[in-house]
Structures are given as C-alpha cells and as structure tokens.
C-alpha cells in the first residue's frame, strides 16, 4: 500500500497522519540504541522494557521507541519517559521492571537511575534540565532521540522532506545555491570552504552528467558526530543531499560510509529504500521532472579516503590515492564529471537552512563562521559525548559547562582539536571564541570537530608521537614529503620519549614540519605536522624536560617516568597494590603498613597507582 508522494498536499496529509499516529500514544519510553548505548546493553534494555510492559498488559498504552545515538554515550544506555521527559541513565535490563512498576504505573522516580550533576552533585530528574543538554543549541541534532531512525513516518511528522518540497516546488536551482551561500554555511569536514560557493562552481561547470557525493568516511580518531547523525537521523542527511543534487543539477548521488560503522550503513540503506518508495528518490520527484538515484558505497578501511580526491578514486573501485588539485572535483570529479562533495554534517545543515531561511541561519554564530558545530568531546572531562553549540562558543563553555568540568578533579592541561591534522590549545586559550579563523590563528584547526581533553597525566610529546604514528601508517605513500617526512619526525619523537633526545632535535622537528606542511600533496600530509608544531609552540618546556632533565613530567614515557613510591603515613596495607603489580615490585605484609615498591623490579606501569583505594601511591620522589 505504498503511496507515492508527488504533491505538497500529499506530503502534508501524510505528515498529519503520522502526527496523529504519534499523538495516539499516551506514553512513550525512548531507549537510545546507538552504537555507544548498544555497547552497554541498550538493545537488551529495550527488549526488557517491551517484555515488562507486555506482561502487565500495558503494551497498547505505552510504546517503547528505539532511537539513534543521542550523543551522551558515556552515560548510556539512556532512557527517557515521555511526555514528562524523565531521564534515566546507565539503565540495565534488570531495571526494566522497576521503571515500569514505579514510574509508569506508580508515577514515582527511580532515584538511583537519575543522573547526578557533575558540578552540583544533585540528582536531575528531567531530560531538559541535564547540564550536558541545556548548554547546547541543537539544530542539526534537533531530532536526535526524538524519532525512530528507521521510520520515515517519524521524520515526516517532524517536518521531514518539507525542505525538499520547498526547494523543488518554490525555488529555482540558482536560488537554492544563493540561499546556502547567503546562510554562510561552511564545510564541516575540516577545511571550512563555503558550501554555497562549492555548489555554485559545480552548478556552473560544463557537463551534462554531474554527481553529488557525501563524505561519511569519518576517519579522524576521536570524532563520531557523523556516525551519530547517520545512525539517528539518516533522512536529514539524505534530504540535504537531494537538495544539493537539485541545486547543482546532478542525477546521481553517492554516500561513502566507513565500513567500521555497520549501524550507520544499515540505517542509511533503510532510509534510501524508504525515500525511494515514497518517491523522494527516483524519477520526476514531486512532479518536477527532477530525477535522482542514491547509492551507498562502503569503505574498506583507509584514512586517506577522507581526502576528497582519494575518496572519489575509491568510489571508482581504485586505490584511494589523492591527486593534485586543480582540477577540483567541482570541475572534474567522479569519472571526470563535475562533482559536489560535502561531509555528513554539512548536508544535515541544509534542510534547516532551506526551511527556515538564510537570514535565520546567518544570525547564529560569528562574523565568518555561521550556524552551529558539533564537537565530539572526549578524554579527561566529566561528560563525554557530542556537543552542538553555536560557532563562537568558547572551549571553557564546552568543557566546563556542558562537559561538567574535568574528570576526577584533575587540572586541565590542554584540549586537542581537529584530530591528527589539528593542534593542542593550552589553558590560556580556553576563552577564545571558536571559529574557523580563531582556531587557525592559534595553531589548531576545526577539522571534523574532535575535542580531546587532556589533563596532567597526559604527556604532550607522547600525544604528538601518537598522531604521527597514525599519519605515518595511513600515508598512502604517493608523495615523498609525507611518506618519508612523517616517519622521520616520528623517529625523532620516539628518540625523545625514550630519553635519547638532544636539543638540536627541536630545531630539526620544526624545520621538517614546515617542509612537509609546504610540500605534501594532499591535506593528510600538509596537516600531519600540526600536532608537532602546536605542542612545540605551547609545551616546549615538556620537550625540554624530556631532553635536558631526562624526565617525563606526566610519567607517561616509561623510560623517563618518575619512580612510584608509597606514602607510609597513608598506606593501610590492604595489599591492593601488590595484587595489581605485574612484577611483584609492590611488597609488604597485609595489615602491617607500610608497603614499599622495589625500584629495581618496578616497570613503572602505574597499576599500583590505579589500584590503591587510599591514594597512598605517589608518582615521583615523595616531598
């Protein structure tokens, strides 16, 4: 009984039907079933809730809805009870009966499932009061957690495909491009190129056959907003791609998804099938003569395929090797045809822009960077997850408000922004409004929006080495600066972390970094030196400590780690350290303090430090 939607009236009627369907359910329990919550048993929680409702005869009145990733993965599985928006976190399948009996039937809160605010320590009963969410402005993420990602009906009920209808029925392709241009949307994949200009180039390029490609090869370690968007609101990404196709005059679209994201692949495939059934994909969409087909291409595991020319090679079934630009894909892309390539988050911004207008959108953000940006906040911060805030928000707001401050009360040292192409920003820059320009000025980049918070237990030389290990192994090997330059820098860093560095190494690193930056073929190589340059810029003293004092101040580099000792006044002789110690270096008699650490057999792994419940283990010589 599939119907094809070919007029706005039909779309509105379908929307009304789905709104009615959703309104008929008096109570709804949403359970996050994104990748993160699944890792913590989200699917089992959903099944247990369904079973518990069924055996109490409540299935008719109360519905359980699985949602896509809600971005607060660390606290998962997340359960919200509508309409009162009671918010439970860390729910286990065995909690299902309590939720049904106490909250659904009894109208009471289950206290131990309520979130504790990391700053005030108070329990927060309602979703809308959770600090992690109140500090955000969710536009792209607006429907995250509110719809079933596998239901096109849910999406349509929330104005889904209205932007496509508007773009096709009320606007000319040129005016769509102008709208996106005026909105000031810039590419969310990293470089921040104005999206409207890219669309204009592709539209104006000569050629009958043109392509739209979505880059969902989210390779930056530490970034997962694209995964979340495709998992939770696949139709929003698809709708953005369809509007782009109309704007540039394409008849074929490809979405290139990382194979490491199986759930995202599944959800985008379902979305495409549903959109095809309703006639949003296919011939003569909305009776306008616009025809489009959409294909999914699964990647095969190569970071460099996130680079646009490499990605296009990969879609053509070849090795993903970048090529020099120009010509840009807008002139010569997929199979030599003009191709518009944007990232997932960029496309997801398009429907709100078309629907609510460029002026509204341009009112959000800073002078040069409009709209919101999703950051994936991870590392040593209390709240880990996806944070959508207006451009121009400070790191301090993201980390200390939305993020709830540092984990375990440790001191903030730096935030690493932009993944392997990015840089580290120190404490002094916490109050800089973040946009494309300000980050570039301070040696970082927006990149895909990864924010990894580092504390005093992180060694900055080690962090730089970590990124170079990554880029060295992901270099495609085509150009010499990247293939040889990056491993050479990495080897210098390894020397330093192993206690064999010399002061001249700092100059060598700077010189090599500049050289690779200027001469590498593609963005992977050109930006790979950034982690080295930015740690040298802000944390040169740590490099010097490794080289001159032969000490790793944070105790990460094993060869230079300060010794571990046990404070005799604090030790309770509980034996936890001895149990954890892999070499038998932590020694003593249970119940007879103090224990000691035999420095000769200690390998400085830190297991005793983690194991001690009393904080008696100290790093470094006791004062």
């Amino acid at each position: 009984m599939t119907e094809r939607i070919s007029t706005r009236g039909q779309l509105d009627a379908l929307k009304a039907r789905h709104l009615e369907r959703l309104a008929a359910v008096k109570q709804r329990i949403t359970v996050c079933n994104g990748t993160g919550c699944r890792a913590c048993g989200g699917v089992e929680v959903k099944d247990a809730l369904i079973a518990s409702l069924a055996c109490r005869g409540l299935s008719e009145r109360v519905h359980v809805m699985p949602t896509g990733c809600q971005g607060y993965c660390q606290r998962g599985p997340l359960v919200t009870i509508e309409p009162s928006a009671i918010f439970y976190h860390g729910v286990k399948p065995e909690d299902a009966d309590r939720i049904v009996v106490e909250t659904i039937e009894g109208g009471q809160l289950v206290d131990d499932l309520l979130l504790e605010d990391p700053i005030t320590g108070e329990r927060v009963p309602h979703h809308d009061d959770v600090r992690f969410y109140t500090g955000q402005r969710r536009i792209v993420f607006a429907l995250n957690g509110k719809i079933d990602p596998t239901s096109i009906g849910d999406y349509i009920a929330h104005d889904g495909y209205q932007a496509l209808a508007k773009a096709l029925l009320d606007m000319s392709p040129d005016s769509i491009v102008d709208e996106v241009l005026r909105a000031g949307l810039r590419g969310r994949g990293g470089a921040g190129f104005p999206t409207g200009r890219k669309w204009r180039f592709t539209r104006d390029a000569a050629g009958d056959v043109k392509y739209v490609v979505c880059n969902a090869d989210e390779g930056d370690p530490g970034a997962f907003m694209d995964r979340s968007l495709i998992e939770a609101t696949p139709h929003a990404v698809l709708e953005g791609m369809l509007i782009a196709a109309r704007a540039i005059g394409a008849c074929d679209a490809h979405i290139y998804v990382r194979a490491e994201y199986p759930l995202a692949v599944e959800h985008i495939r379902i979305a495409i099938d549903q959109a095809r059934e309703l006639g949003f994909i296919g011939d003569d969409v909305f009776g306008t003569g616009f025809s489009i087909d959409v294909h999914v291409m699964e990647g095969a595991g190569a970071f460099v395929c996130g680079e646009e020319t490499a990605l296009l090679q990969s879609i053509e079934g070849k090795r993903g090797m970048p090529r020099p630009r120009p010509p840009f894909p807008a002139q010569s892309g997929l199979w030599g045809c003009p191709t518009n390539l944007n990232n997932v988050e960029t496309y997801a911004n398009v429907p709100p822009i078309v629907l609510q207008g460029a002026d509204w959108y341009a009112g959000i953000g800073t002078e040069t960077s409009k709209g919101t940006k999703i950051f994936s906040l991870t590392g040593k911060v209390a709240n880990n997850g996806l944070v959508e805030v207006p451009m121009g928000t400070t790191l301090r707001h993201i980390i200390f408000d939305v993020g709830g401050g540092m984990r375990d009360g440790r001191p903030f040292k730096a935030a690493q922004l932009g993944g392997p192409s990015g840089g580290c920003l120190p404490t002094e820059l916490l109050d800089v409004p973040i946009d494309y320009e300000s980050l570039g000025e301070h040696g970082a980049i927006m990149g895909s929006g990864g924010v990894i918070v580092l504390d005093d237990t992180t060694c900055m030389v080690n962090v730089a080495r970590f990124f170079l290990d990554f880029t060295a192994s992901e270099s495609c090997g085509k150009c010499v600066p990247c293939r040889v330059g990056i491993p050479t820098m990495r080897d210098i860093l390894i020397r330093i972390t192993e206690g064999e560095g010399e002061l001249e190494d700092l100059e060598r690193l700077r010189e090599l970094a500049e050289l690779v930056k200027r001469s590498a073929l593609c963005a992977l190589g050109q930006t790979a030196p950034n982690p080295v340059l930015s740690t040298l810029r802000y944390f040169e003293d740590e490099y010097r400590a490794h080289i001159v004092d032969r000490v790793c101040p944070s105790g990460v580099c094993e060869a230079l780690a300060p010794p571990y000792t046990i404070d005799p006044d604090v030790c309770k002789a509980c034996d936890a350290c001895a149990k954890a110690c892999p070499t038998g270096a932590a020694q003593g008699m249970p119940g007879d303090p103090p224990y000691i650490i035999d420095q000769a057999s200690c390998i400085r792994c830190g297991a005793c430090l983690d194991a001690c419940p009393f904080g008696a283990v100290r790093k470094g010589v006791p004062a």
Binding site: P221, G222, A223, F224, G317, K318, T458, E474
Partner: protein, 157 residues
C-alpha cells in the same frame, strides 16, 4: 576455490562482470564468503571484471579491511583512537597480547582468534573500547578486556 561456487557470490561476481568500479564491492563479498582473499580469488575477480590483476592486488593491499590470509574464528579489535589512547588502551593491548601470545595483525596457530587494532571505532565516549565479533565493549580496564577475551574463547570449548 570451491567457495566461489557459492551461488550468491557467483551471482555478485557475474553482476559486476565488465564493471571495474565494482571491484571493492566484489572483493568485500568474496571476503565475506571465503574469509580472506587468496591469489586465486584475485585472478578470478580480475578476469570477470576485466581489470588487470596487478590493480586487483593493489587494491587488496591498499585497504586495511582486506586480508590475504585466513583469519581466526573470533576477531578481537582493539581501538587505538585518540580518546582510547589517552584512556590507556596501550595497557589493554599489552594485556591481551600477553594473554593470546600474538601481536596485532596476527592469528593464533589454531585459528581461534585474530587480534587487530583499529584507528577509531567512533565510540570515543566509552573509551577505551574493544569490539569482539562485532560486539562493542566500552570503559574497559585491562582485566575486563582479558576476561572478555577469555569468555569468548571458552564458548568454543
């Protein structure tokens, strides 16, 4: 080679005949059915798709997700992304290496398990993360990780 006789796979390969752009897709299907990509598979695919065998081998060796030797019945993939690195994933790796006696990229002699590292699994808020046979495990300690690996291997008996 006999595995290429699987009718579904045969059909996939025939559908892609003469279409070089389907190479990566077809190789994925071959690997799903056969488990890895042998020189014979490369030759077969090259022939049907009309692609030089050198190009097929080039693609197979370029992408991390293609394997040229048989893999274990269980796959342990440990995330080495930035958040996991900062969260101590190297200690988990060491613990699992010690437990299994293999290093990343290797398969145990009895073909029970393959150990791999992956750059990022996109579950950074749960770091450190490990995926065993497609099931995610997050917020791990080295002890947890070894226990999960032990449980998986015990299921085999």
């Amino acid at each position: 080679m006999s595995d290429h006789g699987s009718s579904a796979l045969q059909e996939e390969i025939e559908k892609a005949a003469g279409r070089p752009e389907r190479l990566i897709h077809v190789l994925r299907r071959v690997q799903e059915t056969v488990g890895f990509i042998s020189p014979e598979s490369e030759a077969l695919v090259a022939d049907r798709l009309g692609v030089p065998i050198g190009r097929v081998h080039g693609v197979v060796t370029f992408y991390h997700l293609f394997y040229t030797s048989p893999r274990g019945r269980h796959i342990v993939r440990l995330c080495q992304g930035t958040a996991c690195h900062v969260g101590g994933s190297h200690r988990i790796l060491t613990a699992i290496e010690d437990r299994l006696g293999i290093t990343p990229g290797e398969t145990s002699d009895d073909l029970a398990v393959t150990l791999e590292t992956v750059a990022c699994l996109g579950a950074c808020a749960l770091s450190p993360v490990m995926v065993v046979d497609e099931v995610y495990h997050g917020l791990l300690t080295p002890e947890d990780a070894v226990a999960i690996v032990d449980r998986t291997l015990e299921e085999d008996g």
